[in-house]
């Protein structure tokens, strides 16, 4: 699995530096696990040294992976970076004895995550499945339908599309409290926020996909005497698919943000946004971080799911060949 150039001396040096740096930092963490007072100047200097060594090593190691084609192997430097950041944070927070109520150490967050996973999973179900997913599906389908209509009727294109562009510069957070007041604090209000948020990028993107068709292809359709329906079925919709998937991918992020922000303005006692709001208010930051980790994992998984479907459906497209 490892690239052949690993055997070069500079790469070995990189790994060695990285290992020494990690070892220094980990040794400190282990030594300070039960200490309650801040570390001495010498210890802090040691930490700086360890961090620098690891960073230097990381730079050299990353160089080796710069041109790896395999995405999994190519991910190694990124994984090492994350590991380094986590270990550095743990060591520094322990060295300065930052109160865990202010910035919890990564290890503490992990143990909290395991301890409260049932609550967070219930929150995630409410936020992701009921609010984000339902709103996402409604907003995206309405967006595609609107784009179909807009691309068919020039009047709608001129009258509606400029508004869609304008809407993209509106801060959606301001919409949230109004919708929550209008539709109550249960999940439908948040689903509505999500639907509105994903709707406009969907319309704009799908419209571009439907209309940015090569004139040659249009001429070909015409010479085949293709009806309007056939033109959409065989030319415009396939052409729009990559654009639609772009909007779908963008929408996953927007949907999570919309649902979480919506919950800031009132929720029925459940949901990731609600949990974050409540716990941040009483300095329960280990739970806040845990909720953020759950939200991130869901967000990344959702995005990759859409990307996977995209590859299955639009494998013929230029960008994958």
């Amino acid at each position: 699995m490892l690239p052949p150039r690993l055997a070069r001396p500079s790469a070995l040096w990189g790994w060695a530096l990285l290992l020494v740096g990690f070892a220094l930092l980990l040794w400190f963490i282990a030594a300070w696990w039960h200490q309650l007072e801040p570390a001495s100047q010498g210890h802090k200097l040691l930490l700086v040294l360890g961090g620098l060594l690891a960073l230097l090593g990381l730079g050299r190691v990353a160089q080796q992976f710069a041109h790896t084609p395999n995405p999994l192997v190519g991910f190694t430097p990124a994984a090492l970076t994350l590991l380094l950041i986590l270990i550095l944070a743990e060591a520094w927070l322990r060295a300065y004895q930052v109160p865990p109520g202010l910035i919890p150490t990564p290890s503490r967050v992990l143990s909290t995550l395991l301890a409260v996973r049932d609550v967070l999973l219930r929150d995630a179900f409410q936020t992701v499945v009921l609010e984000a997913l339902i709103g996402y599906l409604i907003g995206c389908s309405l967006g595609v339908i609107t784009a179909l209509l807009v691309s068919r009727y020039v009047f709608l294109e001129r009258g509606l599309l400029p508004y869609a562009t304008i809407f993209s510069s509106i801060p959606i957070v301001a919409l949230a409290p109004v919708l929550v007041k209008m539709m109550g604090i249960d999940w439908p209000s948040k689903a509505a926020i999500v639907a509105i948020t994903v709707f406009f990028p969907m319309v704009v993107n799908t419209f571009r996909g439907l209309t940015e068709v090569s004139p040659l292809s249009l001429d070909l359709m015409r010479s085949y005497a293709a009806g309007e329906l056939q033109q959409y079925r065989w030319l415009r919709l396939p052409n729009a698919l990559p654009f639609i998937f772009n909007a779908l991918k963008l929408g996953t992020t927007l949907a999570m943000i919309g649902a979480i922000v919506g919950e800031f303005f009132g929720a029925n006692g459940q949901g990731l946004g609600f949990r974050i709001q409540i716990e941040a208010g009483r300095f329960g930051f280990d739970i806040v971080w845990s909720a953020i980790i759950v939200a991130s994992l869901v967000g990344i998984a959702w995005y990759n799911l859409v990307a996977w479907i995209e590859r299955r459906l639009t494998g013929w497209h230029v960008s994958y060949r």
Binding site: A62, A66, P162, A174, M182, T211, G273, V288, S296
Partner: protein
């Protein structure tokens, strides 16, 4: 610029249709609430549900005259602490400072990514992942933590705005710096240009169009960040503070007015970027395309 756009008439017609449809919709939404209010036997200035629908204290949809009055109440006096203009200005300031910080951060990451492939390989996955993460969720915590270390007032909000806005700028600038075609890069090489000169004379100018596109996206993101930061902390000024206040007080009409004003603020800020782009890139003022690919 005074040439009338062909979109104008259809846009006005659509706006008119929406306005005309709003009235029956408003009655439809409010009459049940009004009926309930009447049924409780409360002393109301109106007799029938139809009359009351436009005068509810917390309507489902506010009537146009309520909105109009709400605007009057919240806009004046212009320099009042509880009026929109001053608060909007504070939020706009936070957003702009945030955008500036985001631009610096974005340039740093973008140059790093273009200059070193190792840097890109180690960081890009996390920069991208940070976008599939609802970053907004970090805002409430970040404000409290920054406040603990003495960063207070409008600065933490600007920092959060920057944190949310730096991604589109990073990606946009990186794309722009990579955009010169290989021929031009070869030409620079034949001129024996140093990499610093290549950046200054070729890569930076080439990235300007991408930069402004990124700024437009980042501006909205920064505004959202600033508002969320204001909502989730103790703040004394700003649109977000007004939103949170009126949301707690259940003042529906005021919330509508604030929503519409912040929409206007967002449009205004993006228009500002457009204007700066127009000033800064005179060579791109030629009308770009007509009619699209229809």
């Amino acid at each position: 610029m005074l040439r009338l756009s062909p979109n104008l008439v259809p846009m006005l017609v659509v706006a008119l249709v929406v306005l005309v449809l709003y009235w029956p919709l408003m009655y439809l939404a409010n009459i049940p609430a009004a009926q309930r209010a009447l049924d409780t036997g409360a002393v109301l200035p109106c007799k029938t549900a139809l009359e009351c629908a436009t005068q509810l204290r917390s309507p489902v949809l506010p009537s146009p005259q309520q909105l109009w009055q709400g605007f009057g109440n919240l806009m004046f006096p212009l320099n009042s602490q509880s009026a929109i203009p001053l608060n909007a200005a504070v939020t706009a300031l936070e957003t702009l400072v945030g955008l500036l910080l985001a631009a610096m951060l974005g340039f740093f990451f973008a140059i790093g990514m273009v200059a070193s492939r190792a840097f890109e390989r180690s960081l890009l996955p996390w920069i991208v992942a940070s976008q599939t993460v609802p970053i907004i969720a970090i805002a409430p915590m970040l404000v409290v933590v920054l406040g603990q270390y003495g960063v207070q007032g409008w600065l933490p909000k600007a920092i959060i705005a920057a944190y949310i806005a730096f991604f589109p700028i990073t990606i946009g600038v990186a794309k722009g710096l990579k955009s010169p075609d290989p021929l031009s890069l070869d030409l620079m090489k034949t001129y024996n240009a140093s990499s610093w000169q290549t950046y200054l004379k070729l890569r930076f100018p080439a990235s300007v169009p991408y930069l402004f596109t990124a700024f437009k996206v980042a501006m909205t993101a920064a505004l959202i960040g600033a508002i969320v930061a204001e909502i989730s902390t103790i703040s004394f000024q700003g649109i977000g503070k007004m939103l949170a206040e009126n949301s707690r007080a259940s003042d529906v009409v005021a919330m509508w007015v604030i929503m519409l004003s912040s929409a206007a603020l967002g449009i205004l800020l993006v228009a500002l970027v457009n204007w700066v782009e127009h000033l800064a890139t005179p060579w791109r003022r030629v009308p770009q395309r007509e009619g699209g690919g229809r």
